[in-house]
């Protein structure tokens, strides 16, 4: 067991070192990307400016589905009747 414990200790040391080394390197990578971004800037894009991707890709493109359009026109016409009195 002593041998296994030794081995576990080595794994702990090596493992944590490599995890830290790897992720530290990644920090450098992100800074490099950020530097690259500042050097060659692209237009800033906030979540709100990018149109929400639709969860369902439609193969035939219609801006508003007929169902919704029908619902709306029905609602509005009902409303029109009720207000036109």
């Amino acid at each position: 067991m002593a041998e296994q414990l030794m081995e576990a200790g080595v794994l702990l040391a090596v493992g944590m070192s490599v995890v830290f080394a790897f992720l530290t390197l990644l920090i450098a990578g992100i800074h490099l990307i950020a530097w690259f971004e500042r050097a060659f800037p692209s237009p800033i894009e906030t979540p709100s400016t990018r149109p929400r991707q639709e969860p369902k890709q439609k193969n035939d493109i219609t801006e508003v589905s007929p169902q919704i359009a029908a619902a709306i026109s029905a609602a509005v016409s009902t409303h029109r009747k009720s207000t036109s009195k």
């Binding site: 576990a8 490099l32 692209s42 369902k56």
Partner: protein, 377 residues
């Protein structure tokens, strides 16, 4: 009469053993946790159901020719299902908070201490006469501390398939228990003053940075840690599908239908590993105990690292966010936010905790790669 006898012989009743009845209770307990307590139901419900199906004499669900046997053999034994889940999770993950504040990666690194420290624990348990974990078993168990389901299942399927069921159940259970396990540790290691610390607002991250990030992660993994490529690679692939903006239909499928289908199958297949012979052993108790230890050590290490960084940095770093480094996305980040609000009702830490949270996913995938390289087959 003879037919009735055949039928009686073909019922489960004359074949039942007490162990199988216990396993059915375990299955029902998992369903209870999933449905009533809402513990990670997406996985624990199929796992619990799979446990019920697999523990019945004669049903043969998990034997050659049975449905769960096929699913396990095709999807888990090969490692395909956890990798596809990881792809879907990648397609759901937003790395903005991490890219805006890359130092958070150090918290994701520190929290992996739980994994490697637990290796010790597993070996120490071998001192007790009824445990005999190999180093491979110990590694598969320790990864529970990574708080990441697919990573744990993937590593267990490679290093210790016979422990897979118990490891998966432990991993998902402890992920669900994050709101109970973490807060006491977080409060014990921090002062009220520290918990009130506000953090600077995060900068806006450009689309180009978000696209380059998964590629950078992939490149580094390819070069420095090829054994982590399956996990990290599929994760980065999913994230690239999401961020690149030109293949939305693939990204949507990866994070919806595909991950749902795979989740159903993965859960059932993992559940099919909860057979009495494999689960009702001292090892399972050891796994549950070690998993809790791994989780707690990981949380503590994350918090301590955050305290250290707060000391060394000129910017405020609220030590609570270190706890999110274990992953368990997004639960751990939410717990950080909640504990933070208790000390300072105006201090919203959610976005700040998302950085270490997604860093923890990368961290545990990297840790899995290291374990695969060092003790793997």
């Amino acid at each position: 009469m003879e037919k009735l006898l055949i039928l009686w012989e073909s019922t489960a009743i004359p074949h039942f053993e007490i162990k199988q009845i216990i396993m059915m209770l375990v299955g029902f307990a998992l369903l209870y946790l999933a449905i009533v307590r809402k513990f990670e139901p997406l996985l624990l419900l199929p796992i619990g159901f799979g446990a019920l199906l697999t523990n019945i004499p004669l049903a043969g669900f998990s034997e050659a020719g049975g449905l769960l046997h096929y699913i396990y053999y095709i999807g888990v034994d090969t490692g395909v299902f956890p990798l596809l889940i990881f792809m879907g999770v990648g397609a759901m993950t937003d790395f903005s908070a991490l890219i805006a504040n890359p130092r958070m990666l150090l918290l994701g690194a520190a929290a992996q201490f739980g994994i490697f420290a637990t290796l010790f624990g597993a070996i120490l348990l071998n001192g007790l006469s009824f445990f005999d974990f190999s180093l491979q078993d110990a590694s598969a168990i320790a990864i529970i501390g990574g708080a990441d389901g697919p990573t744990a299942i993937f590593l267990a399927s490679k290093l210790a398939p016979e422990l897979l069921g118990a490891i998966a159940v432990a991993a998902y259970s402890y992920m669900a228990l994050v709101p109970i396990i973490q807060p006491p540790i977080m409060k014990a290691l921090t002062t009220a003053e520290e918990r009130k610390l506000p953090m600077a607002q995060l900068r806006v991250v450009s689309k180009k940075e978000k696209i380059l990030f998964p590629l950078a992660v992939l490149l580094m993994t390819l070069i420095f840690l090829p054994s982590a490529t399956p996990l990290v690679g599929m994760f980065c692939f999913g994230n690239l599908l999401k961020e690149c903006g030109v293949v939305d239909r693939l990204s949507n499928t990866a994070q919806n239908e595909l991950i749902n289908i795979v989740t159903i199958f993965l859960g059932l297949a993992v559940g099919s590993k909860l057979s009495a012979d494999a689960f009702l052993t001292a090892e399972t108790l050891g796994i549950l105990a070690l998993g809790a230890v791994a989780f707690s050590i990981g949380t503590a290490a994350g918090v301590m690292m955050a305290k250290l960084m707060n000391k060394l940095s000129k910017d405020n770093i609220n030590p609570l966010i270190g706890a999110a480094g274990v992953s368990a996305v997004p639960m751990a980040a939410r717990v950080v936010n909640k504990v933070g609000l208790e000390s300072n009702p105006h201090n919203f830490l959610l976005m700040h905790a998302m950085g270490p949270n997604v860093a923890g996913v990368l961290g545990s995938a990297v840790a899995a790669g290291i374990l695969l390289a060092l003790v793997g087959p």
